[in-house]
Amino acid sequence: MKARVYISLKNGVLDPQGKAISNSLHGLGFTAVGEVRQGKTIELDLADMAKDKAEEEVERMCQQLLANTVIENYTIELLD
């Protein structure tokens, strides 16, 4: 079983890397681009277990280590 965790900065938290990416895209002529926010994806291999149990486990991982909830949001996706 696999889990995928998407982590992004909360709205209102400055994202200088996203800003730099936006500037670079404008430099390349992609003028349609507005604000860019950079996040990260973490893929986890998990031992097989019930889906709700897996969700609970990954939730705890996010709270304890994977995300800093002062500045970040996360969403969890379970893949078979």
Partner: protein, 229 residues
């Protein structure tokens, strides 16, 4: 007096901190490895700067979960003085003993130079060696020192005298030009609510002799040691 410096894989200011503390204490602090689960008997815990765990995931995130940090958090909550510098500040926030977070510098640059700091709040233990509203000079060296807190936390920090240092001009004016990293309200260092934990991005341990171009850091450690003894 006894002090303990916590050493993580990737710490690189641990020896500077040892030298600074030894100079002020007249004896060496204990160097405590992150994998230990017990702290020696100590009157002061110092969390040094560096790049613990290569800054993987988030600065300080891995270190905050290392075995020794459970003990550091327990002692901090029980009132033991803790000084957390640079990466140590990031670790202390990730461990939840200080509020807020430290983001990537707003200008995306690693900043490495001396900074002038306004001593903002009174805290006899940590800044009793300075005059009120004195400007002191330490050095910054970081990529992720951009202080962030939500509006409510920021208001509380300012209102409760928990802002320890602000980036300022040499004459003590808190201006945007004096802010090296985009920190909210120019905040360079904060105290926890109880006032026994200080976290700051600038390095006092780099200003402990004239040879290092300044002694404001020596004053800091001398007073800290004196106030604990």
């Amino acid at each position: 007096m006894k002090a303990a410096v916590i050493v993580f894989p990737g710490s690189n200011c641990d020896r500077d901190l040892k030298v600074a503390l030894a100079q002020s204490m007249g004896r060496d602090p204990d160097m405590v490895w992150h994998g230990d689960s017990e702290l020696p008997d100590t009157d002061l815990i110092a969390i040094p700067g560096g790049f613990s765990y290569g800054d993987y995931l988030r600065c300080g995130a891995m270190a905050a979960n290392s075995p020794i940090m459970r003990e550091v958090v327990r002692k901090a909550e029980a009132g033991t003085p803790v000084v957390a510098i640079c990466n140590g500040f990031q670790i202390a926030m990730e461990a939840g003993i200080l509020p807020g977070a430290l983001l990537r510098n707003a200008n995306q640059k690693f900043v490495c130079h001396d900074v002038d700091l306004l001593v903002t709040a009174e805290n006899e233990r940590f800044v009793g060696g300075y005059e009120q509203s004195q400007v002191v000079r330490f050095a910054v060296a970081h990529h992720d020192g951009n202080f962030y807190a939500d509006a409510e936390t920021l208001k509380e920090l300012e209102g409760e005298g928990q802002v320890a240092f602000k980036y300022a001009t040499a004459s003590g004016e808190v201006t945007a030009e004096a802010n090296p990293n985009g920190s909210m309200n120019n905040i360079a260092g904060i105290y926890n609510k109880a006032g026994n934990v200080l976290g700051l991005m600038p390095h006092p341990e780099r200003m402990i002799s004239e040879m290092l171009t300044g002694t404001d850091g020596k004053t800091f450690f001398d007073h800290l040691v004196h106030s604990i003894v």
